[in-house]
C-alpha cells in the first residue's frame, strides 16, 4: 500500500460519480477551499465526471494567491537591502508586486534563493554568517509549524542571522469572512486536508453550527475528492449539515498536537490582509515573545509605497468564488503562466493556473 495509486482507481471513480448522480435531486454548489483540490479536480476531470447538478467553485486556499500585493512589495524592498539574502518558496518569486517582482529584483542583483524547506533557509544562514538571511514565510497552518520548528532550531543553535518575514495565515477566520460576505450561496465546503492534518477538524465546526452548511475534510487524490462530494451531497439531501473527515488516514479530530504546540510557542495571532477578502482579524501569525529576534518585520522595518493593483485582474473575485477564471478578461490572453498578471496564474495551486493547464474542453 502506497496511499496514492489506490485512491486513483478510475473504475471506482466512475461508480462513485454515478452514486453522486443518483442521489442529487436539486442543483447544489460546493466550494473546494484548497487550490490543491482545484488542481486535482481539473487534472482528473472531476467536473466532467460529476453530474451538472453539482457545481464546483474554487476558494481562497492558495497561500501564494492570497498574499497581498503590499506584502510582495515588502519582500521586494527587503531584497534591495544591502547584506541580505532572501530565501523563499519558488512560486512567490514570479508574483508581480506593484511595480516589480522578486524575480526582477534578482535580475537587478538581489541575492534571492529558492528553497524547498524552511530548514534549507536556516542552513543558508549557517553557511553565511556575514549576511542576514530572511525567509519569506508564506503558507497556512500546514506550513506554520515547519517555520516554527526552524525558528526554534535557530535559537537553540545560536544562528542569529536568520529572520522570518511571517506572512503565515490561518484558514478558519478566512472561511468565516467569506461566509459572512455571503456573495456566493454555498451548500457545502470541501475542507483543507493538509491544513487539518495540523489543526484537526474542530476549528471548522463553526461552519455547520453558525452557517448551516456542511464541511467535509478531503484528501487530494481523485477518489478522496469524489468521496467528499458524495458525503456533502448526502448531507444536503438529508438536511443534516456537519463537519466530517473523509481524509481519515491523515486527519484526526484533534490534529497534530506537537505541531500545534510549536505554533503556539513561536507565534501569536494578528490581523492579516488577504487578497480578495481584505483585512481579516486574527487570521495572521506573527513572531512573538522570546523569538522576536528572528522577526524580519522588527529587524528590518521597510515601508514600501502604497500598493497598486493590476487593472482588470480578477484574482480577488476568483479567490472568493464569485468569478471563474474563464470570466476574467485577461485569462489566457494578457495573463498566461509565462507572463502572469496575477498570482492565481503563477502558483502551482492557483485556480487560473489549474484552468489554464487542465481546462481544455471545459464548458
Amino acid at each position: 500500500m502506497k496511499f496514492i495509486d489506490e485512491y486513483q482507481n478510475s473504475e471506482l471513480a466512475g461508480k462513485l460519480a454515478q452514486h453522486i448522480a443518483t442521489h442529487t435531486t436539486g442543483q447544489i454548489r460546493l466550494m473546494e477551499f484548497c487550490g490543491g483540490h482545484t488542481h486535482a479536480i481539473m487534472r482528473y476531470g472531476i467536473r466532467q465526471l460529476v453530474p451538472p447538478t453539482v457545481e464546483m467553485r474554487s476558494g481562497p486556499g492558495c497561500p501564494v494567491c492570497v498574499t497581498a500585493t503590499g506584502d510582495i512589495d515588502r519582500a521586494i524592498a527587503l531584497a534591495r537591502l544591502p547584506g541580505v539574502i532572501i530565501t523563499t518558496f519558488g512560486d512567490i518569486v514570479r508574483v508581480p508586486g506593484s511595480h516589480s517582482s522578486l524575480q526582477q529584483a534578482k535580475a537587478e542583483g538581489g541575492d534571492i534563493r529558492i528553497v524547498y524547506s524552511a530548514r534549507d533557509a536556516l542552513e543558508i544562514a549557517r553557511a553565511n554568517p556575514g549576511k542576514s538571511v530572511i525567509f519569506i514565510g508564506i503558507g497556512f497552518e500546514t506550513t506554520a509549524p515547519t517555520i516554527a520548528a526552524a525558528i526554534i532550531k535557530a535559537k537553540k543553535e545560536g544562528i542569529e542571522n536568520f529572520y522570518v518575514l511571517s506572512l503565515l495565515k490561518l484558514t478558519p477566520p478566512a472561511i468565516r469572512a467569506l461566509l459572512e460576505l455571503g456573495e456566493v450561496k454555498l451548500d457545502g465546503i470541501i475542507g483543507p486536508g493538509h491544513v487539518c492534518v495540523i489543526t484537526g477538524s474542530r476549528p471548522y465546526e463553526f461552519i455547520s453550527r453558525d452557517y448551516g452548511i456542511g464541511c467535509v475534510i478531503s484528501g487530494f487524490e481523485p477518489l478522496d475528492i469524489l468521496l467528499s462530494i458524495d458525503k456533502l451531497v448526502e448531507q444536503v439531501e438529508s438536511g443534516k449539515p456537519k463537519v466530517e473527515i473523509a481524509y481519515r488516514r491523515g486527519v484526526k479530530p484533534e490534529g497534530n498536537e506537537k505541531a500545534l504546540e510549536l505554533i503556539e510557542k513561536v507565534f501569536e495571532r494578528d490581523s492579516a490582509i488577504w487578497r480578495g477578502i481584505g483585512n481579516v482579524p486574527q487570521s495572521g501569525l506573527k513572531v512573538k515573545g522570546e523569538y522576536r529576534h528572528f522577526d524580519a518585520d522588527r529587524a528590518f522595518p521597510v515601508t514600501p509605497h502604497p500598493a497598486k493593483e493590476h487593472k482588470g485582474c480578477r484574482c480577488g473575485d476568483i479567490l472568493r468564488g464569485v468569478a471563474l477564471p474563464l470570466e476574467c478578461p485577461l485569462f489566457g490572453k494578457v495573463c498566461t503562466p509565462e507572463k502572469p498578471v496575477g498570482p492565481c496564474m503563477v502558483s502551482s495551486e492557483g485556480p487560473c493556473a489549474a484552468y489554464y493547464q487542465h481546462g481544455a474542453g471545459y464548458e
Partner: protein
C-alpha cells in the same frame, strides 16, 4: 504550498529521518512527529513529516469507497 506526499520512513537519527518513495530518497525532519517509527508512512511537506499515515484508516476508507461503488451498481 500545502502539498504533502506520503513517504516511507527508512531510518531515523535524532530529529532527522531518511524517507523513500518510488526509489527516491529524501531527508525529512521529524520534529513535528517525534513518535514516528521506521516503516511508518508520513506526510512529507516542505522537508518536514507533518503527520503519520494511519494505515488502518486508509484501508477503512478504501472499503467504504468499494461499498459506495457497489451501491451505485444496484441502481
Amino acid at each position: 504550498m500545502c502539498l504533502a506526499v506520503p513517504v516511507r520512513v527508512v531510518s531515523i537519527e535524532g530529529d532527522d529521518a531518511e524517507t523513500e518513495i518510488g526509489g527516491v530518497r529524501r531527508r525529512a525532519s521529524i520534529a513535528l512527529t517525534p513518535e514516528v517509527k521506521v516503516g511508518d508512512y508520513v506526510l512529507l511537506h516542505t522537508g518536514y513529516a507533518i503527520g503519520i499515515v494511519d494505515e488502518a484508516e486508509a484501508r477503512e476508507t478504501l472499503k467504504l469507497l468499494e461499498e459506495i461503488a457497489s451501491l451505485s451498481e444496484v441502481h
